[in-house]
């Protein structure tokens, strides 16, 4: 190794020492540097000129006297002129950390000004072309014999490349550390805080803030800050696009805003006044954007000095901001999934509640109970405090509460009857559509009601009208809420569904109630008829009539007066009295023929009055002009003449009540009926006629109800159907009489329906059933059918009255609901399974990765341990040892060899199979020699590993590590299968079937084998037949993947009891053949030996012969040189080891110290270029 090979730095150093020694020698120089320089021989100057370090020599005042060529190159080709005073001050200087260095404080200036020597101090210099250089400065005074300073010697070493590499490394490290910290943060606020701190540190900002975008209000919310007090944080907690700050401006333009001097920027006057007290001069706001470009957040940095970020800083800042953007986006995606899941769950729950409600109310016949169910469900679904259902009374145009939940007596009394237009429900009635009061306090429409509402404990109300199927408003469904609230679309939809449900219930029960009431009234009339027909005592008859009339009409008292006038005072005779003692009338005497009474006794008709005192005929007659004082108080009045069949008025039935409006039209009809019954006593023949007439009226009414209706005899045979029955079934009375109804039943239902009907007939209990009935169009529809027994006064059933209500639509809705619910459940389960599987996969792959790390570490440590052991054994072997000791050593040697292979195998298992996959091929016999050790170790104690190999070398197309991992997993599985038994054999048979079908690697065991299910699923990821924890469930899936990647296939034969056999069918590969392409010649003309050696190795791998020396260039196919060639040698490709600006255009220049990648790239270009190939 000669001196010529020593590095430039060291030779410079030696030259410098020589120079200093010489200058220090007393006789070698005169009084000044120029003279000293004159003393130097030309050899010294040429040495300076050849120094790679920059040399500047000045006189004692710092005026430049000399600089060498390297100095020129540092100065970017334009060195300071000789004679320049303060030569170094034409450049900007910086400290290594980037801070600007004040003028005149660089080590070279300090050496002159303060006589302070510099030895290796580092500075950054910015040349006039803007390029920054890192320099190590050696600066020292040159001292005369008289100890006076005669000049300064400055040497500047360029270490820019090294510092750049270090900075790049540090930058990567900081980014890595930031990403590690971000991985540990949980909230977006802490993510923003971490990134903000890192960015501030990077750009050396004095203060900083971080904000997140609130998309709803399109504003920025402060989430982290550093260096600002509470006042500032409060003032700028929310920033919108019309603000005066830089972040507001950045929000407006969705881009970066840099204000270098905020105090002197007319656009930011207001901001400047806010920042001035804090001494901030420069501000920069950088947006965080999503991958689609939308704004997610903002980082703002503040400097106390005038700061302009460099392009490099902005580039790095961008790298910092990106992870924050990714994390915010991920967060948003996770939130969206959570939200949609909870919505889905809420919808399922709502539908389930509605379905349950439909099931419950279908079986409840009592209206209040059914409506209470509806109310409970409605209140629970929308989270109300209370609720009620009202029915509409058309004559009075009011709403009346029929069901309620959660109200006190006072409320119920106050809102007993609500007129149209009053309160929430009244307004909904008036408008015919839902009315919502979100907060009564702030709702101008209801300001007069606020006090009442709040007193009863609610602030918000909604009222939804109930409509009949024909579209007539029949009631109102209202819910009341303790707190002000708004209603979501989902809630309004639910309220509609509930209101619809309530409407159907009212419709159904109203029809049923009306029918039942009429049936019962008919029965009462019939009972009275039966009583009367059996009773011969007239007075008893009339008493019974009076009592029954009073009961049925709801009167407080009633009386029967005979149409016989007392001769003395022309008064009518009181015959019977009900509800009051006789004395109550006796003292006033009987009524006379006043205009009011005359109407009755003249048989002109019924007199019914809600308030008789308001009747124009009332109070017209002396002496009382109305009721005598002390008379029973009468406001509601009902008087019915009793007329014989012959038309004679027999008397009158009079009923009264102290309250107004008691007697209804129905009461009037009933009493009229009773009056007719009363006539029986006098005219027995008319009794039955009247009774029949009454039944006919009932039938007429039953004809007009929307349901199908019928009546049956006690034996169950039907004798009457309503019009709707015939319309629906398209049948005639003849065909339906008796048991003819069976003809419209579905054949599958006739038997069960008939059995249930007969059972009801026997027990006398009400009958109910649900079944399809065939319509006139041949289609079946579903009906809910009910029948009530009608009994005589002895309680015997005399007939049955039944209805059929069409519930097909209801059933369809229920079916639809059920389908939706099932579908939603299915979706939720599917999604849940996906999430679970993904979590499982993450856990498993983490575990696989940690196993890989473990086995790599283990292999590495074993290798480290074995090395000293081998060396020590070698030492022992070299000694003169007795024979037995040598044998021991041989034993140890073989154990070490075994462990070495095991370590190698472990390392192969640790190689990432994804990276290992490729076209690399493996020789099977040498592979086995390496891998068998680790395979043996995969088996439990007592299980043998057998093998058989092909007789000659054989190559397969599969990377070595992948083959090891595949076979290892199969052997391990086979071992696990045999583990419980404790004995057995695992065989690895590698065979060549024939030339074309490649190599078969067969791993078999004599274990228990697999069931059909296990066999068909064992290659799926995460499928395992072993206990979780013992198995990752990834083994066979991994094998499958590895073999597939290598272009091979897997066969599996296994039956319970007969062991398992996996065969990997791998493709043949060609053994690597020595490259027999004709050798080409590359001539290397490179002086640096290491570079020459690297090039030689690279060229040989590309099948080049190499030769050295410039004289061989003419016979070369390729030339690599560190000196430019003359143009006559230009017909061959040239790689030039120097800077591009001094090369010929056709040569590839890769610099003096190229990196490996640059060398390889250049060689690829040259050898792959057809132009060059043609010439070889």
């Amino acid at each position: 190794m000669g001196a010529t090979e020593s590095g430039p730095d060291q030779s410079a150093h030696k030259s410098l020492i020589a120079l200093r020694d010489m200058l220090a020698a007393p006789r070698a120089y005169a009084s000044s540097i120029p003279q000293a320089c004159e003393a130097l021989t030309p050899a010294w100057w040429s040495m300076f000129d050849s120094l790679p370090a920059a040399v500047f020599i000045t006189d004692e005042l710092g005026s430049l006297q000399y600089c060498n060529p390297s100095a020129k190159s540092i100065a970017g080709g334009v060195p300071p002129e000789i004679g320049t005073p303060h030569w170094c001050e034409s450049w900007k200087h910086f400290f290594p950390d980037g801070r600007p260095m004040p003028h005149g404080e660089c080590p070279m200036s300090l050496a002159v000004k303060q006589g302070r020597a510099a030895s290796g101090e580092e500075i950054v210099l910015e040349r006039s072309d803007g390029k920054r250089m890192w320099l190590r400065v050696h600066s020292s005074a040159l001292v005369e014999e008289s100890r006076e300073v005669c000049g300064y010697f400055n040497m500047l070493l360029d270490i820019t490349d090294k510092r750049r590499a270090e900075n790049a490394l540090a930058e990567q490290r900081r980014l890595y550390q930031l990403s590690m910290r971000l991985n540990q943060t949980e909230t977006l606020e802490s993510v923003m805080g971490e990134v903000m701190s890192a960015a501030a540190e990077l750009l050396r900002a004095d203060r900083c803030t971080a904000q997140l975008v609130d998309t709803a209000s399109d504003s920025l919310r402060l989430v982290a800050s550093n260096g600002f007090d509470r006042d500032f944080q409060d003032r700028f907690a929310i920033v919108t696009g019309d603000g005066f700050t830089t972040c507001a401006a950045a929000l407006r333009v969705n881009g970066q805003i840099i204000v270098q001097d905020v105090a002197n920027d007319p656009k930011y006057c207001e901001l400047a006044s806010a920042l001035r007290p804090m001494g901030i001069l420069s501000v920069m706001s950088t947006p965080v954007r999503s991958s689609k470009g939308s704004l997610l957040g903002m980082f703002t940095l503040y400097w106390a000095n005038l700061h302009t970020p460099t392009e490099e800083e902005l580039r790095l800042l961008d790298l910092y901001v990106q992870p924050a953007a990714r994390l915010i986006e991920r967060h948003a995606a996770e939130n969206a999934i959570r939200l949609s899941e909870s919505r889905l769950e809420a919808e399922v729950a709502d539908l389930e509640s509605l379905r349950q409600l439909a099931i419950r109310v279908a079986t409840i016949s009592d209206r209040t109970a059914a409506l209470n169910e509806v109310l409970d469900t409605g209140i629970a679904l929308v989270g109300a405090a209370k609720g009620n259902v009202q029915m509409y009374d058309a004559p009075s145009d009011t709403l009346r509460i029929v069901a309620h939940r959660g109200f006190d007596e006072e409320f119920l009394d106050y809102f007993k009857r609500v007129p149209a237009g009053y309160s929430c429900c009244g307004k909904a009635l008036a408008e015919g559509q839902r009315v919502v009061i979100e907060d009564v306090v702030s709702d101008d429409r209801f300001s007069d009601l606020a006090e009442v509402y709040i007193k009863h404990g609610f602030r918000a109300v909604q009222s939804t009208p109930l409509y009949t199927t024909e579209g007539r408003l029949m009631g109102m469904f209202s819910t009341h809420f303790a707190e002000p609230r708004m209603f979501s679309e989902r809630e309004l939809r639910l309220l509609d569904q509930i209101a619809q449900k309530a409407g159907r219930i009212i419709e159904r029960t109203t029809a049923e109630d009306a029918l039942r009431e009429h049936a019962q009234n008919l029965e009462t009339l019939n009972r009275i008829g039966a009583t009367l027909s059996a009773e011969l005592d007239t007075e008893k008859v009339i008493q019974a009539v009076t009592d029954a009339g009073r009961q049925l009409s709801g009167a407080q008292f009633g009386a029967f007066f005979l149409n016989r006038v007392n001769e003395q005072d022309e008064a009518y005779m009181l015959y019977t009295l009900s509800g009051a003692p006789c004395e109550a009338f006796e003292q006033f005497g009987a009524p006379r023929k006043t205009p009011l009474f005359a109407r009755t006794f003249d048989g002109e008709g019924v007199v019914r009055s809600d308030d008789i005192t308001q009747d124009p005929r009332f109070g017209k007659t002396a002496p009382h002009h109305g009721m005598p004082q002390g008379h029973l108080p009468v406001r509601s009045y009902l008087a019915v003449p009793v007329i014989s069949r012959s038309g004679e008025v027999l008397g009158g039935l009079f009923f009264g009540h102290p309250e107004v409006g008691v007697f209804t039209e129905q009461a009037e009809r009933l009493v009229t009926g009773i009056a007719a019954q009363a006539a029986i006593a006098i005219d027995n023949a008319s009794l039955f006629a009247e009774a029949r007439e009454s039944e006919a009226r009932f039938r007429a009414m039953a004809e007009n109800i929307p349901q199908l209706a019928w009546m049956a005899q006690v034996d169950g045979s039907l004798y009457w159907y309503n019009r709707r029955w015939y319309e629906y079934t398209g049948t005639t009375a003849e065909s339906q009489d008796g048991w003819g109804w069976q003809s419209v039943h579905h054949p599958d239902f006739i038997e069960p329906v008939t059995n249930k009907w007969i059972a009801a007939l026997k027990s006398g209990e009400p009958w109910e059933d649900t079944f399809p009935l065939r319509g006139a169009d041949g289609q079946y529809r579903w009906f809910l059918s009910r029948a009530f027994p009608i009994r005589d006064e002895r309680g015997n059933v005399v007939r049955w009255f039944g209805t059929n209500t069409d519930i097909t639509a209801q059933r369809e809705v229920e079916e639809e609901l059920r389908r939706h619910r099932d579908k939603l459940q299915e979706l939720v389960e599917e999604r849940t399974n996906e999430i679970l599987e993904a979590q499982q996969r993450i856990r498993m792959s983490e575990r696989m990765a940690s196993l890989g790390t473990l086995s790599a570490g283990l292999g590495h440590d074993m290798g480290n341990l074995l090395l000293p052991v081998r060396v020590h054994i070698e030492t022992l072997e070299s000694m003169d040892l007795p024979a037995y000791a040598r044998e021991e050593l041989i034993g140890i040697r073989s154990s070490i060899e075994y462990l070495r292979k095991l370590a190698g195998g472990l390392r192969q298992l640790a190689i990432d199979p994804v990276r290992a996959a490729g076209t690399e091929s493996t020789e099977i016999r040498s592979w086995w020699a390496e891998a068998s050790t680790v395979l043996k170790n995969a088996l439990p104690r007592g299980i043998r590993l057998e093998h058989s190999l092909p007789e000659t070398d054989r190559w397969v197309s599969m990377p070595k590590a992948a083959l090891t991992q595949a076979v290892f997993n199969l052997v391990q599985n086979a071992g696990d299968a045999l583990r419980q038994r404790g004995t057995g054999t695992v065989s690895v048979t590698i065979s060549v079937v024939d030339k074309d079908s490649g190599v078969h690697v067969c791993v078999s065991d004599d274990g228990p084998g697999m069931t059909e299910e296990v066999r068909s699923r064992c290659m799926e990821p995460f499928f395992t037949s072993k206990t979780r924890g013992v198995s990752t469930g990834l083994g066979l899936a991994l094998v499958y993947g590895l073999v597939q990647d290598a272009g091979g296939t897997i066969d599996l034969h296994s039956t319970p009891g007969n062991g398992t056999e996996f065969t990997l069918k791998l493709q043949d590969a060609q053994p690597p053949v020595p490259n027999d392409t004709p050798k080409r010649l590359a001539v290397l003309d490179v002086s640096e030996p290491r570079l020459r050696s690297i090039l030689t190795a690279e060229l040989r791998s590309l099948s080049y012969d190499t030769a050295f020396g410039r004289e061989l260039v003419r016979s070369a196919d390729l030339v690599v040189t560190d000196r430019p060639l003359s143009s006559c040698e230009s017909s061959i490709p040239v790689i030039l080891l120097s800077e591009p600006d001094v090369t010929r255009s056709s040569a590839i220049a890769i610099g003096k110290k190229p990196k490996l990648n640059a060398i390889r790239e250049a060689l690829r270009t040259v050898t792959g270029d057809k132009r060059w190939r043609a010439s070889t």
Partner: protein
Amino acid sequence: MNASQDTAGVSVLCVDDNPAVARALETKVTRSGGFIWAGTLASADEVVDACCRTCPNLVILDVDMPGISPFEAILELTERCPDTRAIMFSGHVRRDLVEQSIDAGAWGYVSKNDGEDELIRVLRRVHGGEIAFSPEAEVVYHGGL
């Protein structure tokens, strides 16, 4: 080739944080004809200063050690002690590591799994002026994993 003559007086410095490995290497190297053991360091922190002081011909460096990165150490070493040649000796053999070593200025890379005899072979070749690799490292360097 007479190895002991070629390597007579060639000094070798070893940097390995595992004292057992370092001792074994000392034994192996000094026994292998003419090499002189220049000493052992436990980290790459002082290797440059040590080389400037003692100017060894060859330095064996482990890759995975506490302290400064061996690649940084080699970069500085080639700058300050250009006569000293560095050879990496490691259990980790990956393409990126081998290429990084060569770019930093190393002359060779030896896999610990290839054994100490390979190390001696590589030391000789590097001293002879060639860059050199043990078989496992060679495969990786020329296009393996």
